[in-house]
């Protein structure tokens, strides 16, 4: 099939899934935070608030976009656009699974592969700061400006440990391509420990994760938008779609970062167990989830549960059945298994993000900078040195 | 429209950018913009290196432009620090105002 058409199809699928996922990520976050704080979170719109993201989107679109009179219009409008565009671009080089064949078409589960994919992601993420900085500056508002400045300083500072942490697995795998990186992580030590980079690079992984928090302006590093000091920071003046764009950028960045972490440290779509066992895991999980839902649906605690939980159970069991069907339809297997493990790992990491947000307080600004330069940077450096040394010694 | 362009066009592009950088250096009054014009010139140089690397099928040009980038980064750090001190002492970024020494 034509390369362009194929790419268009892939891009369409990815964009659709990804944007929907972003919307629901917010729902998940609100839910999880709600439960951490012993609330229920969104509950009204749709069953368990499942339609809440949709409602939010409608609200944001229909709201009046306020253009403050004192802003620098061009840059004010450019900033959110820049932020969201740059955040979404990185997705294009991330692989979601191995090479697959559907009918006569053989393709990778990836929009495009670059030899320097990892560099590309770093490059894009390093440019990502402009959206925030520019937005803060163009608002012509001192809180926004301070937010923008803080964020640019913070992002530059944390980019270093981030990049250094990334460099260590690159040394091990000797590649800059995500695919080869994942391939490198296939197989098992002693037959059951997956050859993921997280094991030799646990320090690098931790540094990466912490820096990732800062790069995405998440708590405990969300200084740029610290509500109580900066009145929401760089996007104080933004409303309506432009506000949504900033929000989307933030969540997209989160997804990207977790995806990169997965690909670099957690073996990408490689299952954590050897082949035959791993195949049963999704069936078990979805089946169990379906059964639990069914149980609760049959013994409803609330009135609505009578309809929603069996529906959910049906869905889960259906998915379990789909995975079961892979035993008979080998075509589906690589797609589904890869997607399962990949998304699963991402979800776990995203949960960590949310979890941290629910539990940790915010740093002070000087502590934040100090942490980057005095703790994280040397750690990443040390990690890189040790890795390099090990690689050099073992290659001889 | 031709399907491909000769390398000399890339070189002309770089010459144009270099010239624009020179023009910016000469005409602009804001110190930071002047500095950015220099960066534009360096970028033009890099394009020349990469283009020649392509023509010569060598990687050396890339390495040279890599060094140019590193040096540009160092220069930016120092240059911006200098600009900060100037601003701190004089409260202006206009290059004409920074001339306490006269003939």
């Amino acid at each position: 099939m034509n390369f362009f058409i194929l790419s268009l199809i892939k891009a369409g699928i990815i964009a659709f899934v990804f944007l929907t996922a972003l919307a629901y990520l917010q729902w998940i976050e609100r839910k999880v935070i709600g439960h951490i704080q012993l609330r229920v979170g969104p509950y009204r719109v749709g069953p368990h608030g499942l339609l809440q993201p949709l409602a939010d989107v409608v609200k944001l679109i229909t709201k009046e976009g306020v253009l403050p009179s004192h802003v620098n219009k061009f840059f004010y409008l450019l900033a959110p656009f820049l932020a969201v565009t740059l955040a979404l671009i990185s997705i294009s080089v991330l692989p979601f699974g191995p090479q697959i064949t559907i009918g006569s078409v053989t393709t990778w589960m990836q929009l495009t592969d670059l030899n320097v994919g990892i560099l590309f992601v770093i490059a894009i993420s390093s440019v990502g700061v402009y959206g925030v900085a520019l937005g803060g500056w163009a608002s012509n508002n001192k809180y926004a400006l301070l937010g923008g400045l803080r964020s640019s300083a913070q992002m530059i500072s944390y980019e270093l440990p981030l990049a250094l942490a990334v460099a260590a697995p690159l040394l091990l795998a000797n590649t800059l391509s995500f695919r080869e990186m994942v391939n490198y992580q296939s197989g098992y030590w002693l037959g059951f420990i997956p050859r993921w980079n997280i094991f030799p690079e646990i320090l690098g992984f931790i540094v990466f994760l912490i820096a990732a928090f800062a790069e995405t302006n998440r708590i405990p590093f969300d200084l740029p938008e610290a509500e109580n000091e900066l009145v929401a920071g760089f996007h104080t003046e933004y409303s309506s779609m432009s506000f949504a764009a900033f929000f989307m950028a933030e969540y997209a960045n989160m997804v990207t970062v977790t995806a990169v972490a997965t690909l670099l440290f957690l073996g990408g779509w490689q299952p954590p167990f050897p082949e035959p066992y791993s195949d049963f895991v999704p069936i078990a999980i979805f089946g169990l989830a379906g059964l639990v839902a069914l149980y609760h649906g049959l013994n409803p605690a609330r009135r609505m549960d009578k309809f929603t939980l069996p529906g959910a159970a049906l869905l889960f069991l259906g998915i379990a059945a789909l995975f079961g069907a892979t035993f008979f339809l080998p075509v589906l297997k690589p797609i589904l298994m890869a997607l399962f493990w990949f998304c699963g790992k991402i979800l776990v990491l995203l949960f960590v993000f949310i979890w941290v947000r629910g539990t940790l307080p915010r740093f002070r600004y000087d502590q934040l900078m100090r942490f980057a330069w005095i703790v994280l940077f040397p750690l990443a450096m040390f990690n890189l040195l040790v890795t390099g040394l090990a690689v050099a010694l073992s290659s001889k | 429209m031709p399907t491909s362009v000769p390398t000399s066009w890339y070189l002309i592009l770089s010459a144009i950018l270099f010239g624009l950088g020179v023009a910016g250096f000469i005409f602009r009054r804001n110190i930071i913009t002047v500095f950015m014009s220099i960066e534009l010139m360096l970028n033009a140089v890099n394009l020349t290196f990469v283009t020649f690397s392509y023509t010569l099928k060598q990687v050396d040009g890339h390495i040279f432009s890599f060094f140019v980038m590193v040096v540009a980064a160092a220069e930016a750090a120092v240059g911006l620090a200098i600009i900060l001190t100037v601003f701190k002492n004089r409260g202006t970024l206009m290059i004409d105002d920074v001339s306490s020494m006269k003939y």
Binding site: Y130, A133, W137, I156 | I12, A15, I32, T33, L40, H62
Partner: protein
Amino acid sequence: MTALIFFLFAGIAVFCGISLVAQTHPIASALSLIGVMGSLAILYLQLGGEFIAAAQMIVYAGAIMVLFVFVIMLLNAGAEGTSLRVSAFAKYLGMFLLVAFLGLISFIIQAMLPRTEGVVFGAFKGGTTADVGMKLFTVYLLPFEVTSVLILIAILGAIVLARKEI
């Protein structure tokens, strides 16, 4: 296709370059410069400079220019006045000289370079990270190491010039 990409991004680069020089506000100039850098990165890719394209984005657009933007914001530098610091005559003379210079360079380039075949994407594959790294750590080992002194100086300079008290 190659030509299309070239003309597109060369056009963007030149437009942004002119914008850099013509804009009165430093932020606008900075963004124009980023635009130039971005389009040059694409052209590098086209010329087989994978690594250098990425480095261009990371180092130039991602680090150096952020620093610029940061400083512009920090100083809250306003737009320049409309009057340039040179007289109108000098301005036009300068423009003329610039055009003349460019024309000359273009002529020299066109006339002197041997006729080259068009740029084909992928015709030169020697610019991968591996190639760059291999050369960098063998032949160009010394400059690479010496560059670290440069970085040290830059850090030192920033400290000397910008810290609170000596």
